[in-house]
Every structure is written in C-alpha cells, then in structure tokens.
C-alpha cells in the first residue's frame, strides 16, 4: 500500500526523518524542473531545490493538508527562486541549453528548427522579470490551473490573470524585437 503524502508528513513529524526521502523521490522532478526553468541553469536549480526540500522538512509542522503537498512544495521552491534571483548578479549567470531528443520521428531539418525554437524561447523567458517568468512557467510549462497558481503565489485571481496577460505580452515583444534584430543583420535576399 502506497502511503499518502499526509501519512508521510505525519511520520516525519513523529520523528521518522527517513520517511521524508519518499516525498523527495515523489516530487524532486517537478521541483528541480521548476527551479531549472526559473533559474536557467542546472547548478543553481540544484542548490535551490535542495534548499527547498530542507526548508520543507524543517517547516513540516506548518504544512496545511487542505492543499496538495506539491502545491506547498512549489510555493516554497518559487519563493526561494525569487529570493535567489534578487540576490544574484545577472551578468555572471550561465543559461544551460537543454534539448529534447525525440525518438527519430523528426527529419534533421525539423529537429534543427525545434532546437532553435527551444533556444529562442528559453532565452526570451529568461529576459522577463522574474515575477512574470514565474507565472508563465507555472501555467504554460507546469500546466497548473489558476487556482493552483493562486495557492502557490498567494495572489488573487485578478492578479494571476493580469500577470499572465502581461507576461505573454512581454514574451511576444521580446521575440518581435529579436526578430527585428535578426532581420537587421540578415544578408539581403538571404532571409
């Protein structure tokens, strides 16, 4: 029988520290990937994810079981990401590129276009203000609902909707300006 999240939380609270490993195993992928998309590189994603799980463990007594554990875990993680992003010096941070290897269904040309698209979007979302990137990642990358995003960010429905609207607008403007830059330097007649 698989233990529920709250059963594991209760075991931890009763002193069984090793039980927490089950929760790490269960949610590490979502936490690490969210941190990766927020921070833009693996090294900081790992630091933030580790710290997030340690903080979760240390504040398990504050976990409210009315919410899903993952919602609370994402709240802790995104708050830590935003804190780290505020502290860091942007110009020194690398952006790791990650490309999906599809199972040979794409032609080399399709594969190339997909990689270029992924790189373009990845770079563009890293240019957005952190607070806006957070909403885009939660909604469009983690596929969460408005309600889940409200629970994670503590914002109202109006703010969630407005920030998503504004984030998409900024993403579009960033991509259009890149497109214009590219056209400016393109060889005439070789578009």
């Amino acid at each position: 029988m698989i233990a529920s999240d709250i059963e594991i939380v209760n075991r931890c609270l009763a002193g069984d520290v090793n039980a927490f490993e089950v929760l790490i195993e269960r949610y590490k992928k979502a936490i690490y990937n969210t941190a990766f998309r927020m921070m833009g590189n693996r090294e900081e994603a790992e630091d933030v994810s580790q710290e997030a799980f340690i903080r979760m463990y240390n504040s398990l007594s504050k976990y409210n079981p009315e919410y899903k554990f993952i919602t609370w875990a994402l709240k802790v993680t995104t708050n830590l990401c935003l804190d780290s992003l505020r502290k860091r010096k942007a110009e020194t941070v690398p952006i790791d590129e990650v490309f999906e290897i599809k199972d040979g269904k794409d032609t080399p040309e399709e594969e190339y276009i997909r990689k270029e698209n992924q790189k373009l979007v990845q770079d563009a979302i890293m240019k957005l203000p952190d607070k806006y990137r957070e909403f885009l990642i939660l909604f469009h990358h983690r596929n969460l609902s408005y309600q889940e995003i409200m629970d994670i960010t503590g914002e109202s429905l109006t703010i969630v909707k407005n920030r998503l609207y504004r984030a998409r607008q900024m993403l579009k403007e960033e991509l259009i300006s890149r497109e214009k830059e590219r056209e400016k330097y393109a060889v005439p007649g070789n578009k």
């Binding site: 590490k28 992928k29 690490y32 998309r37 373009l120 469009h140 596929n143 998409r168 993403l171």
Partner: protein
C-alpha cells in the same frame, strides 16, 4: 474589430478559455490584418514551445544530499 480587442481575445485563447465564436473572430481578423496574424503566430509558436520544453533529469544522488543537509542541520 480593432486590433486591441483582438489582442484581448488572443490572450483568452492562450488561457484556454475561448468560445468557438471568439476563435472565429481572431481568424477572420487575422485574414485581413498581417500584423496581428504575424504576432499571433509568434506567440503561438512560443507558447507551444514553452509547453513542450523537455523535463530534465534530476542529478544522481540528489536525495542523499538533501537528507545529509537535513541531518547536519538537526545536529
């Protein structure tokens, strides 16, 4: 319909909260307005890509490092 109004519908489209009629309005407007059509394609491509960005593997030994951190801070 004005471009500004279409832009609001486009955002509803990406919220996944749009009626068939509203979708038709975007299509009809974009057939006549190159700028909106181009911007819609740029954003659609970006959102599709964002939704499909690959999940990456968590580094090996991650759990152990977290557990060590928990235990060392308890000590």
């Amino acid at each position: 319909m004005q471009c500004q109004e279409i832009n609001s519908l486009v955002m509803k489209y990406f919220d996944g909260n749009i009626s068939e009629l509203e979708r038709e309005m975007i299509i009809r407007h974009n057939e006549k307005c190159n700028r909106c059509a181009e911007e819609f394609e740029i954003l659609r491509n970006a959102i599709d890509t964002l939704e499909e960005l690959p999940e990456i593997e968590v580094p090996a030994g991650f759990e152990s490092r977290v557990m060590e951190g928990i235990i060392s801070r308890r000590a």
